[in-house]
């Protein structure tokens, strides 16, 4: 199996689905001309391969999503790229009041098979350009929300998302585009709404997704040297939320830490912790802990940015704290 980047895995998924289904198109800002295709290179070269099917759009996120919704209603499967998650705010009405509502409010008469691809993340770009809105999207009934952590998951989930008949918000991550992982040459699909063990262990369960899966894996390697074996559940999909593996794991480890990149208050970690204690209270030997981003608009300075975000060392510290507590 070849090791490829997360970026390349996404591109392969797009290519395969465009080959398979002529109604799949890619619309977004700078997906064609700029730097060969895509602000982060995901669509590079695809415009040449699929003439007329990859198109640059005006900088009008509300229209990128809205035109995508209309096209999906009209029989296409558009993949709409929003340059970064920060700009989805301009299209929030289209995503929440339109994409998410059509199927239910119109009693199944209208379907919206579209994918909204957009990266979360940071990179010394300060407050307006360094955010994570996982929890916001996951809050909305009618959306499906996917946030893959590895190239393998990114490819399999993007293919499924494109084939799905509901609007899927597909959350990539700026810091993951260059990461590498094994991806088979042959075709495979990963179902939406199915979590995955990224590491097996007996001592503490970490429930996480996206970039924090990678940080948690780093933390696990450090902790393993100390003899602590963490189990990592990668949710992969944030809506619908599959907590079955997390529950199974808690049953074994009796300890849970939820690790998320976004702001802690009203974050997805709060929802996961609340649900797990509802369902597995008797299995818990310690209160469920959370590792999350600090609640500040992201500063530009290197040290302040780093202090704001959770990294492997924060996960290690949380595991230490949990293991040291006596109950």
């Amino acid at each position: 199996m070849a090791e490829i980047t997360y970026r390349e895995a996404l591109k392969r998924a797009l290519r395969e689905e465009m080959q398979r289904d002529p109604t799949v198109v890619i619309w977004g800002e700078d997906v064609v001309a700029y730097a060969g295709g895509g602000a982060y290179g995901v669509t590079s070269g695809l415009a040449k391969e699929f003439p007329g099917r990859v198109r640059d759009t005006p900088i009008a996120e509300e229209a990128i999503i809205g035109v995508g919704i209309g096209a999906a209603m009209g029989g296409m499967r558009p993949v709409c790229e929003i340059m970064t998650v920060n700009f989805t705010l301009v299209a929030w009405d289209q995503i929440v009041n339109h994409a998410a509502k059509q199927s239910h409010m119109f009693n199944g008469q209208i379907k919206v098979p579209m994918v909204i691809r957009t990266p979360n993340g940071h990179g010394r770009t300060a407050a307006t350009h360094s955010q994570n809105f996982d929890a916001w999207f996951a809050h909305v009934p009618g959306l499906k929300v996917v946030a893959p952590s590895t190239p393998y998951d990114a490819k399999g989930l993007l293919k499924t998302s494109i084939r799905d008949d509901d609007p899927v918000v597909f959350l990539e991550h700026l810091q993951l585009y260059g990461t590498r992982g094994e991806v088979p040459d042959e075709e495979y699909l990963i179902p939406i709404g199915v979590s995955d063990y990224k590491r097996r262990g007996k001592d503490v369960t970490i429930v996480t997704w996206g970039r924090m899966t990678m940080e948690s894996l780093k933390a696990a390697r450090i902790l393993a040297e100390e003899g602590i074996e963490v189990e990592i559940v990668d949710l992969r999909t944030l809506r619908p939320l599959d907590l079955s593996l997390a529950l199974e794991s808690v049953h074994k480890t009796n300890r849970v830490i939820v690790v998320e990149e976004g702001w802690r208050t009203a974050g997805l970690g709060a929802e996961i912790a609340a649900s797990l204690q509802e369902m597995a209270f008797n299995d818990l030997d310690a209160p469920i802990a959370r590792v999350a981003g600090l609640e500040v608009p992201m500063p530009y300075a290197r040290n302040l940015e780093r202090a704001t975000l959770p990294f492997a060392e924060d996960v290690v510290a949380a595991v230490h704290a949990m293991m040291q507590q006596q109950y």
Partner: protein, 346 residues
Amino acid sequence: MDKENLVALYRQMVLIRVFEDRAAEMYAKAKIAGFLHLYNGQEAVAVGAVSALNPDDDVVVNYRDHGWALARGSSARAVMAELFGRATGTTGGRGGSMHLVDVKNHFWGGYAIVGGHLPLAAGLAAAAQYLKTGRVTLCSMGDGSTNIGTFHAALNWAKLWNLPVIFMVENNQYAMGTHYDVHSAVPMLQKAAGYNMYAEEVDGMDVMAVREAVCRVAERARRGEGPSFLNVVTYRYRGHSMADPDVQRDKAEIARWKERDPITRFARDVLLKRNLVTPKELEDIQKSVEQEVEDAIEFADKSPEPALDTLYDYIYQQPVRNMQIAGSLIRPPTVAKDIPTNGKHA
């Protein structure tokens, strides 16, 4: 147009008028709740426009949508039942007055976020263009929708991609209580000119004028000449919605517009003048419409409310099992019992 079709246009306008008057009555009786935006005065717009379209052209409108649904072929029964919030309504009581829909008639819905449906219309047109279906999309909106970002984004995009879409402003000159001169900096047609879009101004109180204008621009779109813009000048006789006491508009202004009533005018200047009908026939039409609407009210009133166990239906096109983990339907258990196992759910 032959006699039969002209009489049909008349009947549709009367149907909408009577339907709206009776709906207002039902609202007063608390059979209908929420926001109820009536179409009285604007009947010629929907009826004229729909008569100019092919049955598979796509229609997208705002929340003032009863007239559109009726003109596009939804039954008075289904529309009234929807206003009543019943299982037999156009969306089974999901959407209510502002969100009627009938996709089999290519009526893609009423939309209640001002300007929200304009990009959707451009998208439907983009699909028609890409899939080469030959369809045209008609997108109706209020004058108050021409200042929001989606208006400008959708017009720019439609022109840029040469989409087969008609942006039709039902310019009743008010956005709730705010007059055009208070909400817009430039005359309406100048907004279309900003995107170099073909535009016409149309008398919205004249059903034939609306019909002819929509025919012209739909033909343009079908010939590949792209989007167009119609400023259809009209007036609503009632307040913005049933919640509006309508104190801000001048009574004399309302009376002046009523003198140009689209139904009376069409009967007098076309049907009677050309001897296509007798006054007696017009009376019969009125009676048959009244009966149809009365029947719709009885039907709606007798219809059941939607079953509680349909509440989760169609949040997704296929049922998604584990979305119910956090709080379940009807009697929410504090502890979910039905935890799906990995790989088994949709």
